[in-house]
Every structure is written in C-alpha cells, then in structure tokens.
Amino acid sequence: MRQQSIFAALALTTALIAPAAGAKELHVFGPSTWDTFAAGSPEEIVKKVTDDLDAKFMAKFPEVTKVWHDARGTVSDGLSRLRNAQLAGDPIDVIVCAANPVNTSFARLGLITPADSLVEQMKGRFTPGSVENFTVGGKIWGVPLSAVNVTTFFYNKTLFKEAGLEPPKTYAEFLKAVPKFKEMDVIPVVHQGKNAWMWPLYYMSSLAETTGNKQLEFVEDVLKGNAKFTDAPSLKALQLTRKWVDDGLVDPQSNELDEDAMKSVFYSARAASYFGASWDLPAVKANAPFEWGVFKFPQYEGEPGHPVAFGGAESGLCISSTSKEPELAAEYIRFAAEDAQTAALLAPVAPVATSHVGVAGSTDPASKDLQTYLPAEKFLDWVWPRELTETIQRSVQSMMGSSITPEQAAAQMQAKLDSMVSSGYKFGN
C-alpha cells in the first residue's frame, strides 16, 4: 500500500513538473517605446495586437508558455538601453529593431545575428527597398515588418491658397510665392534646426538631383576616396540647400526650434509648410486645425536628376546575439512576418505603404499622394559612418544658420573624412 501511494505521489509530481520542464518563454525587446508593434498607436491598441499575435503564436507552438515584451525609453537612448540589457545578461530573444540603428550600430557592434536564411525563405514577400534597408555589408540583419515612411513636405492648404500657390513642382514656383508670404507675415518653410540630424535631408534631396539620381554611388565614391564633398555635385547640392534660406523660403532662425517648437509654429499657422517625413502623419492628422496636404521635394531647374523621397521600411524584427533560443526567435519572426499577421499588426497605424507586397497601404488622400513617391531611396546617413554624419549634420546646420558658407561646409565635411581616413577608416568596415 505504501509503495503504491509513493508511486502515485511520484507520478503526480512528475505529471506536474513535466510540462513545466518543457515550457519555454520568449523575450521580445524594444530599445525604445517606439519599438513595438503598431508603433505610435495608443497603449491599449499596441497591447491588443501584441496579445493577439502572441496568443496565435502560442497556439501554434504550445511549448511556449509566455512571451515577454519590454519596450521603454526614448529613441535616442535606445542603443544604450539595448546594450545595457545585453551587458546585464537580461534574456533577449527577439528585438523590434528600427532600420536606422541596425544600419548604424546594431550590426556593426554585434548586438544582432544575421537573418539571411530567414529572409531567403520569404523571398518575394517584401516590397522593393525593404530588404535593402536591412542589408549592411552584404548581409541581411533583420526581417522587415513595418510601415514604409517617406520624406515629404507638409503644407497648410489655407495659407497656400491665400498666397496663390499650388503645391510647387519646381523650386522656382515656390520662390515666386515668397513676397506674398512676406506680406501675409507667414514663414514659408520652417524647420526643426536645433535637431542637427534633420538638416541633411535637404542636402540629400538636393544631392539626388545634382548627381542625376546617382547619389548613393556618389556617396560611396566619396567614402572610397574617389570623389570629394567639395566636388561639383556635392558643392552644388550644398549651395542649392543654402539658397532656401538666402531666398527667403526657409526661416533663417530655424536653428532655434526643436521638433516640438517647429510643429507648434506650423500648427498655429505662423508657418505655411515644413519638410519632414510621413511618420508625422498621425500627429499632423490629430493636431493641425486646418486643411493640410503633402507635396514632394521640388525640382531644381537645370539639374540632371529628378526629385526623390528618402525612406523605406522603418522597422523590422531581429534576432539578439545573446538569445538562448535563436531557433524559437526565428519561428516567432517567421510567424509575425506572414502576410496575415503583419496586416493585423500594421492595421492600427494606417500606413502609407508597407514592407509587405501582400499588405496594402491606407487609402486616405494624403497616403495616396505619398504612395506616388515610392520607391523611396535609402537614407544616406545610413551609409555615412557615424562620426562623419555628425560633422555633416553640424556643417549643414551652421550653413543654414548663416555662420558658414557652402564652400566652408563642404571643406569641413571633406576634412573630417580625410582625418578619419588617416586614422584608419576604410569604407566597407
């Protein structure tokens, strides 16, 4: 009798322990609050789509009993938050990774492992440019899963109408309206100049036109040493950028405004437009008390290239290099990147377009306009080494604040690259 009851007890205990022994937990990490599914949506919605996804995943993979999510902090602290978490030995399997830091730091620092094979299996699923956004040094580092964002002007329809201006296709058209805007005491174009990182958008957009749309090749040439920032295409791009201020289009004191201040100037109709990107759509929709629209960066007359928008798939899913369950992490990513799941994850954002061919973009008028800008070009500051980007940002910022000339800006940028090269920088590292 005693033996039987001991047996029974043992059986019961093993029955209780066994599932626990086979149970696995997955940890999904977001370096900042922006690195979640349905990024930018209210918290309840993010939670709902995430829980739905997790429930479906755990139904498919019953050995997974819990999926943890941790996304906190500001975007600028993201890299250090991820690094600290890995340094602390926190369990991290999947990272919701934004394309920008993947290009500029995560891949290079070995925080994530390449996902080539994973992406290979999903061939044909992604829209042009999406996978390229996650390709660094010939390897693919993440699976795109996001809205596609593009650079664009936002403008106040009422003010433009008053100035007798249609969304300008050329720079000259825009220029013609400057006297009228002055009369109305309205700033034609305002910019968040305090944030140096946004100024290069003007330089990049101008460079696309001055290089006949071969700006990526040109940048690579410069980094390899076969061309210089002071060469004609780049110098012209800087001069054209500076013209925006000198001709009275861009406010000469834009350097005083950060993102927040700039938007308040726009929303209170003291400025008629600003150059930003479609990730601002939800905010503009919510805050602009007037009729607004979008238009593409205008054409400079006489330049060989046509205007382009920069951007692409903003974020994706990566595998953490410290993950103890890399295969499980890959399964999670594979599952989330299926068209059906992706559609559900992106729906709340009403994206302009998405990284997936099978998931269509939203149909509201602004989104339809923006869809015509696609395919977007890769941001050049993902190609420039970080140190150089810092100098380019500051040089353009100073130039637009009228402290230095375009020639000086070009010289500064080249000098920085030269000193990096003499300290051992080589393109392709």
Partner: protein, 284 residues
Amino acid sequence: MSRKSPSMVLQPQAFLKMSLGHLVLAFAVVQAMWPVAWILFGSLKSRQEFYTNPWGMPRSWQFSNYSDAFAIARVGDYLLNSLIVVALGLAILLVAASTTAYALARFSFPGRHAVSIVILATMMVPPDILTIPLFVVLRSLGLLGGFFGLACIYAAGGFGMSVFLLRSYFLAVPVELEEAAVLEGASPLKILLYAILPLTLPGFLAVTIIQAMGMWNDLYLAFVFLRDPASATVPLGLLNFFHREAIDWPRLLAALSILTLPVLVFYSLFQRRFVEGITSGAVK
C-alpha cells in the same frame, strides 16, 4: 540678518539706496520666480494653448492635466519605489559620511590628508565615464537592478560633498563637550551619536535636503540601473510624456510640479533650520 543701527535716519542718500535696494531685490526675486510661474500656468493650459499663449495666464484652467499626469506617469505605482530608494540612499550616505567626517575632524592619524585628497579627487571624475564600470561592478556583486545597488550609487555620488560639509560643522563644535564624554570612556561612535549629532542637527538637515533632492530627481541613473519596469522610480514616469511626435508639455509640467512638490514642502517646512544649517558652519 543685520543689527538695527541706532542711526537709522532716512536721509535722501540713504532713501535712494533703500529704494534701489528694494528694486534690485524685487527684480532678483521676479527673475528667480518667473519660470515657476510659467510652469504652474503651463501645467493648467491645453496643449494648443500652451503654444499659442505661452506667457499669459491660462484662459481655462485645466486641472484635469494633473490627474492625467498622475495616471500617465504612474506616480502612484512608482512613488513607493522612489521613497524606498531615496530613504535607503540617505541612510547609507549619512552613516558613511558622518563617520568619515567625524574621523577627519577630530582625529589626527597617518593618512588623514591622503583620505581627504582621495575624496576630493573622486569628486573631479566626470560621472558619465563611470556608468559602464559601475554597471560591471554592480553586476559582479549581484546588485544590478535592485534598490540597494542604486541607493549605494546615489550615496557614493553625494559622499564627497557631504563629508566636507559635515566635517566643517563638526569642527565648529567646541571640544570641551566631547572631553567629558571621552573621560567617561565613551566610544567615538557613541560620542558622535549622542553628543555631536544633536548639536549639528541643522547641518545634517542641510546635507539631507540637498542630497535627497538630487536622489529624488534623478532620472539617468535610475534609467540605467533599475532594470525591472516594476521597480521604476517617479522620474522615469516622466519619460512617458516624450512621445515620438510631440512632447505633452502641459501634462509634463503638471507631472514635474507633482514631482517637485514634496521637495518644496520639505524645504519650506525646514527652511529656517536649513538656512541655519548651511549658514552655521560652512565657513570652517
């Protein structure tokens, strides 16, 4: 505080000086208080009004900003955490700093100068480069992510200044009081606790308030060293107001007012003793 001089006759020159003095004083106070007014007004405006009417009084007083801020910043959840960490940090700091300050003030022993110099030197190291080394140290001690580790870092941060301040207060206490206790055979610790402490209470209070303020408001160290969202302190809740597309200023200001309120209450309650504390011995 100055004594009333017997010859306080208001001659024209003196009168001019008086009014000028009042004017300058008023100006000084206004320029110190203006931002406070801005914060209070701003916290009661709507987001729109915050930008369209930055300097005036709020047109409609949105007290709901405060309750919203309380909820968004999860003040309720984080309050206890903040209190624990600050209390712990203060306890560690006061014990460590007072014993060290007392030793430096009253005893002459080999290495006395060296200790002072080392403490002074640690105050000159830029705190930012210590982040990763501290990270590694805490991790190897198993203190990473816990309140105790963070409290120790807070205490270490305020150690130098507290030691020097407390030392100067101790130096101001007449030696005779201690002589009696020493003759009775009391240990230095007992002397510190029962003889010195009561006399230098203002000084302790001053150090406590200054350091508590720093620990209470700290955002960066808490962000790095508290790993679990459940252990977050109140300042970390402020991060919730920094949305990608805009900063929710009115509610952020409301949250900051809530955050600073305890400091102000504490300060105004103990203001007199605090000022007395600072003023009673920082000299020596």
